[in-house]
């Protein structure tokens, strides 16, 4: 089976989905599930034909392990989020278009990951950008869609510049070959490195480009937020991967100034990653909207992934690649649970929710496991990847970046706990008395993702094997696993053992607990209130200003937030100036300008 067949099949299926959606949009939504499942299966079959070359019309493809890896992540996220689609169909203004775009963006990502040349890469990249832009606007906010597009456009246009520059220099568009022409041209290499990476940075939400993430993730349709955060953000990581593998940044800058063995340009990007970890963490802690909070956490985790991939060594690279998966899954899960809560209650504002655990315990448990992974706590997937990254950083002695990583990882306890506490725990507001648990259909993706999180956490070997393949493909040292144990130069990790010992401890505690007298169940309102009689559950629910002291400390927002707005206002001002200067309804003004132009040109020509 060739890749082109797969691509065309998928395209045909998505058109079918669209047509079906036109007749019955709910059925169409089920078709999205089927199609993404088919995609998953087909991609799985493609694993055997890695190395295959394919081309059609404008596009050329090459099946690589890394592309396969990335697209598997993407398809898993798409597939699981698709289960929510049927429930949101009647809330969409263009349900059929949503289904179509949903699948087209999936195809776009796949095509992008397997792209062999720049044009293919760029075209599929833009396909994803546009389809997702049109999906985001079906959510709460048009502005977010706008910001998303603008930031993406900044990234993609600058990257297009880099691609064409490379094409000009090398005469070829093939990614794996084109960059070779840059050897021996350090200045050009520098320009290409920064410009090429920019699309990745903007997509993964690295510091100055992170503004779109909270807006877009926060207000996209609830069904699409998991895809955005779990999937599309990871496209940026792919660009980062190209910039270290095909572009071979380490060789290109080998003669430049190095910091702890890292060439300065790469270090600068890593510092940006570190800044986005800090900014994402701080901002996530401050949010009231659960989806925005998770979006900022994506910013922070994007920083980890970027740092990991850019280090491009045995350890941190594997960590970054693994973090990609574990965060994709955890973040998708978290967004899905929040989406379900929003579906049942109609809001994602944490200060308006509370006590959901008593109504939706399964959703709660799933969310709990997701955030444990997201915060990097042992038995789950997030820990292994964070461990690898931190060990890698320690191996290189990158102090400041490690400091940011620590900040992000401790800070993540704070922000992941906030929705846990404010949405699921605490008092149940009376208006949510009749909220029901997620339906079976919604539970399926939650189970799937939770199992995945656990599997990665306990048996990271499953993923690390593939990552070792990628490392072999990229020509760097492969990550070593002995049995279940990850063995690296400065440490070993056996997550299975950690899991078993945790289970052991849990068992002991459980036994002691059961042996003691059974507790009496009291209502939530029967709680210590300094003997005051409170009958309003909302008053007893601590959810707004959850981290008030911390928020006081970080009150002054950093200036970049308004940067885009300022630039936009400036552009409008200049536009207004141009309009009022040059487009006056009075002919005399234009005649005046004609004379001025004549005079200037004349002077310029004479002198």
């Amino acid at each position: 089976m060739t890749f082109i067949t797969v691509l065309i099949t998928l395209l045909a299926l998505s058109v079918v989905t669209y047509l079906v959606s036109l007749i019955n949009n709910k059925l169409g939504a089920y078709f999205t599930i089927v199609t993404s499942l088919v995609t998953l299966l087909l991609l799985f079959l493609l694993k055997n034909s890695i190395g295959q070359l394919a081309s059609i019309s404008l596009f050329t493809f090459k099946l690589t392990t890394v592309g396969w890896y990335f697209s598997m992540v993407m398809v898993v996220v798409y597939f699981t989020s698709a289960f929510l689609n049927p429930f949101w169909m009647k809330k969409m203004i263009y349900p059929a278009a949503y289904n179509l775009f949903y699948l087209v963006s999936l195809i776009g990502t796949i095509g992008m990951f397997f792209a062999r040349d720049f044009i293919t890469l760029f075209i599929f990249w833009e396909t994803v950008v546009w389809t997702s832009t049109f999906i985001i606007q079906m959510g709460k906010s048009r502005k977010s869609s706008y910001v998303y597009y603008v930031v993406s456009a900044i990234g993609s246009m600058v990257t297009l510049f880099a691609m064409m520059l490379v094409y000009q220099v090398s005469g070829t568009l093939e990614i794996s070959v084109a960059f070779n022409a840059l050897t021996g041209q350090p200045v050009l290499a520098l320009i290409v490195f920064f410009t090429f990476l920019l699309a990745g940075l903007s997509k993964i939400g690295i510091f100055p480009f992170h503004v779109w993430l909270p807006m877009a993730h926060g207000s996209a349709p609830h069904t699409f937020s998991p895809v955005l955060s779990g999937g599309l953000v990871k496209m940026g990581a792919f660009i980062a991967y190209i910039s270290v593998s095909a572009f071979a940044a380490y060789e290109a800058f080998s003669s430049s100034f190095t910091i702890m063995g890292i060439p300065a340009p790469i270090y600068i990007i890593m510092v940006l990653g570190a800044i986005s970890i800090v900014v994402g963490t701080v901002m996530a802690i401050r949010q009231d909207d659960a989806k925005k909070l998770l979006a900022y956490s994506s910013v922070a985790n994007g920083g980890y992934i970027l740092i990991g991939i850019l280090l491009f060594d045995q350890l941190a690279f594997a960590g970054g690649m693994l973090h990609l998966v574990s965060h994709a899954i955890a973040s998708a899960t978290a967004f899905i649970t929040i989406a379900i809560v929003a579906h049942r209650t109609g809001t994602t504002k944490m200060s308006k929710l509370g006590g959901m655990i008593h109504k939706m315990p399964i959703t709660y448990t799933v969310y709990l496991i997701a955030i444990i992974s997201m915060a990097g706590i042992p038995p789950m997937g997030g820990f292994v990847s964070k461990w690898l990254i931190l060990q890698g950083l320690a191996d290189h002695g990158l102090l400041f970046i490690a400091a940011a990583a620590f900040f992000g990882s401790i800070g993540s306890f704070m922000y992941v706990f906030r929705p846990l506490s404010a949405v699921f725990l605490g008092q149940l507001a009376p208006k949510h008395e009749n909220v029901k648990e997620a339906s079976i259909m919604m539970q399926i993706p939650m189970y799937l993702l939770t199992i995945a999180t656990l599997l990665i956490g306990v048996f990271p070997k499953i993923i690390l094997k593939v990552i070792a393949g990628i490392q072999a493909e990229a020509g760097i040292q492969e990550i070593v696993m002995v049995g279940n144990t990850i063995v690296v130069a400065n440490g070993v990790l056996d997550t299975f053992r950690v899991f078993v010992v945790f289970g052991y401890g849990f068992l002991i505690a459980l036994v002691i607990f059961i042996l003691r007298r059974k507790s009496r169940r009291v209502t939530l309102m029967d709680t210590y209130t300094s003997a005051e009689f409170v009958h309003t559950p909302e008053l007893l629910h601590y959810s707004s200003n959850f981290y008030a002291p911390f928020e006081r400390l970080t009150k002054k927002p950093y200036p970049v937030l308004n940067l885009y707005e300022k630039v936009s206002i400036k552009i409008k001002e200049i536009g207004h100036m141009a309009e009022s200067l040059f487009s006056s309804p009075k002919p005399a003004v234009t005649i005046f300008w004609i004379i001025i132009v004549f005079a200037i040109f004349f002077l310029g020509g004479v002198l």
């Binding site: 006056s584 309804p585 009075k586 002919p587 005399a588 005649i591 005046f592 004379i595």
Partner: protein
């Protein structure tokens, strides 16, 4: 000399377009400009003591002091076009006056375009 004069006319016309507010005056200014250009065109083909470029037996075709006939042809066309534009402009001016009750563009320019 005549070229300077034509240039002067052109500049007068330009000055007129720049400074007047009345549409009729503007159109007149444009006319003056065109006049200047037309005179210039003529002057290009003009040769002192030139001969009319008529190919008859009386005139020696080897003479080199023919007046260039082309500019004269051009100027005719140009005058016609100028006439057309002037009349069109005046018609619009009349229409404008009918609609807004003024010939002054600045008065209308300030109005809202609705």
């Amino acid at each position: 000399m005549i070229r300077l004069a034509s240039l002067l006319l052109l500049l007068i016309g330009l000055y007129g377009v720049l400074t007047t507010k009345n549409v009729i005056k503007m159109i007149i200014s444009i006319n003056i400009m065109e006049l200047g250009v037309n005179i210039f065109i003529i002057s290009v083909g003009f040769i002192t003591n030139g001969v009319a470029p008529n190919l008859t037996e009386h005139i020696d075709s080897s003479l080199s002091n023919f007046v260039d006939p082309l500019p004269q042809a051009l100027v005719l066309t140009s005058i016609v076009i100028g006439l057309g534009i002037t009349s069109l402009g005046l018609a619009f001016a009349r229409k404008m006056n009918k609609k807004y009750g003024t010939y002054d563009l600045t008065m209308i320019g300030g109005m809202k375009d609705e």
